[in-house]
Subunit: 166 residues, 2 copies
DNA sequence: GTACGATAGTCAACGTGGTTGACCAAATAG
DNA sequence: CTATTTGGTCAACCACGTTGACTATCGTAC
């Protein structure tokens, strides 16, 4: 990873107010996620990447299958399967045969997976509280309400062409 | 790309308020970017991907070099070079020799590149205006001010490990 | 004026995350 | 019982990132 350039905002043209809004939303999201993973790394989950959080969340405590997971994340079953492979290697997920259907392989969180998910939830709560401390609880709530009104609810969709592959 | 699942929010746990905030910020960002590129595609720039906007913006009207571009985007010069390759193929960028330094290759926007950047700026302005129409100009400004206070100004950094490669 | 270190660009190998298409085995519908 | 659908995997490919190695050029120091 290259070193940071403190002047990296040089080309953002403040004359065009429209550019700022998406950049600020992205910066806000990234700040939360970066802070989360910095702390997560300190708590023994250095190998968890941002995308993995979405996946663990989508697997959920009840477990799921590769096809269903792909459906939830909005990616192909093949992509979901490969992501599961990596999380299995890292020790966050496990596959088990479904006794009721020999085709299916149940995907479940391991203990480590549960731990990571639990810590993420706690840490996100803490980060939100920190924002509320800076901005005031009312402003944070207002921010959430406003975004709820204008944003499409495609929370978990990872299939933006050009962000992740084509 | 897989088909959308309207129930893809099923695993978001509303009991944990901390999860909502990052998701809403991401959803807000993605809404703007998706809307932008939908309209951009209608205006003859169907091959522009979200990441490309960052790159064109970072190249800027003045042009730059691959190393400097990598520096601005926070990625290696090799990564910057490869991205430039793709944008050159798409007709948005061009390389020219620097008469003052035979090592350097100037990277400049083509006419098509300028057009894409100009349209993006206009469309982002329009999208922000649409949000202001829904929420009120004051709320949008407040949203921007709040985010400015809590977000790290790493606007252009694309080097989040786990989002894009390692 | 030459030798040397820093800089710009490229190539190669690799990792991650995505896509299609093809394929097999098992479940299900007729 | 056959035909179709469904779940999982393999293979090939693309986008985007990394490090390491290499060449060519520039600038400096002697």
């Amino acid at each position: 990873m290259a070193t940071a350039d403190p002047a990296n905002t040089a080309t953002a043209d403040p004359e065009r107010p429209g550019f700022l809004l998406p950049l600020l939303l992205l910066a806000g999201f990234r700040t939360l996620v970066d802070d989360l993973h910095a702390e997560l790394a300190r708590q023994g989950h250095a190998d968890l990447r941002p995308v993995h959080g979405f996946v663990l969340q989508a697997v959920g405590p009840a477990g799921t299958t590769a096809s269903e997971l792909g459906h939830r994340l909005g990616v192909s079953k093949q992509a979901a399967g490969k992501t599961v492979d990596r999380l299995v290697v890292l020790g966050y997920l496990e596959r088990a045969d479904d006794p009721a259907d020999a085709r299916r392989k149940l995907i479940r969180l391991t203990d480590r997976g549960h731990d990571g998910l639990r810590r993420s939830a706690t840490l996100f709560d803490e980060l939100r509280a920190r924002w509320a401390q800076t901005l005031g609880e009312q402003r944070v709530s207002a921010l959430e309400d406003d975004l709820r009104r204008v944003a499409q609810p495609n929370f978990f969709r990872l299939d933006v062409p050009g962000w992740f592959g084509t």
